[in-house]
Symmetry: C5
Subunit: 96 residues, 5 copies
Amino acid sequence: MLIAKVIGTTVSTIKDETLKGCKLLILRQTEVDGIPFGKPYVAVDTLDAGIGDLVLTAHGSSGRLTAITKNKPVDAVIMAVIDHLAVNGDVPFKKE
Amino acid sequence: MLIAKVIGTTVSTIKDETLKGCKLLILRQTEVDGIPFGKPYVAVDTLDAGIGDLVLTAHGSSGRLTAITKNKPVDAVIMAVIDHLAVNGDVPFKKE
Amino acid sequence: MLIAKVIGTTVSTIKDETLKGCKLLILRQTEVDGIPFGKPYVAVDTLDAGIGDLVLTAHGSSGRLTAITKNKPVDAVIMAVIDHLAVNGDVPFKKE
Amino acid sequence: MLIAKVIGTTVSTIKDETLKGCKLLILRQTEVDGIPFGKPYVAVDTLDAGIGDLVLTAHGSSGRLTAITKNKPVDAVIMAVIDHLAVNGDVPFKKE
Amino acid sequence: MLIAKVIGTTVSTIKDETLKGCKLLILRQTEVDGIPFGKPYVAVDTLDAGIGDLVLTAHGSSGRLTAITKNKPVDAVIMAVIDHLAVNGDVPFKKE
């Protein structure tokens, strides 16, 4: 899984019909302190995550193993919202 | 999923026989403002996307979970055409 | 799928027994003009592609969805030989 | 599989309900001497690995092939704790 | 598949119980001349490959499609030992 920050939303009228009602959020991978880097990607939100939340995303066929994403053409899903991260005795990220 | 721009088409006479009639488009991943970067890749179009459209592509086995791509040797599919993207209160991309 | 150029062949006496008779070609990914870049990789050829051909390769489990690669330990297959590529009104690649 | 060092833990109250009780550790890939590099990622721990351990992680659908991760939306699992690594006659890493 | 050189071995006492008896080798991807580059990774050896051998590795779910790796939490397997590579009329690698 990747640690990522939710940075935005996508709106699409034309999409695969199995995706009606799926919330598709834009994310960027982050370091353990929650600072984003790298390229944007899109994942299905099944946990009502909000903009600015730090989350974990599962990719590939694993992205389809939730009740909401089963058998749909999606390759990434938010499967946890992070409360805090502990690294080497420090807490580099804590949700406000 | 990746945010990508449709930049072209591929024409192949010799191909796996399950691919007859599949529309194979060339894309480049983009930033949230729709500006492309990086290497070209090819995805099956199931939504009648056009050159210049910003789309979402699903990869791997998830690329086969549409009615058109089922059981075919393809690893990427366009599963949504983007109307607009909202990031941090801005709208960095809006379809014209 | 990736756009790639066939650059060579591999010869192996010792291999998984399901691979006897599989033609394993060496490729490099290319830009839309057919100029190769990046690292070599190997894919099964099911279309009698030749050295120098520009092809499309499907990866991961999708690489096993041809009659020849079914249930074999291979993760990439040539599923189309490219005649030409059209990008933004140009034809940056055309097979000779 | 990747060689990686366990560097921390994640705590999440809101998560896919199949993940209750799953221990999610933060790792960084390492060289053969155990020195980490690159970006953090998260894997399920099924072996009671500890902070500082060098481990092997399996990715993608293979990450679901343990008794603990079966059918869950996770894409990486720790499937071995490394005792030592032998490279070209040397032992660049040995667990203390 | 990737062209890779076997550079070492891993020893693990604590591992997923399905992996008892699996030989886990360390590899680095190579160019067509057999010169390694990049980061180390680990694959299951099903062909009795030796240190220094040039091999092909299959990744992802394809890594589980051998008699030895079936249903195990492994994502890479050595499925061929390379005798020689032919590129553009040359033989940049030949096994000694």
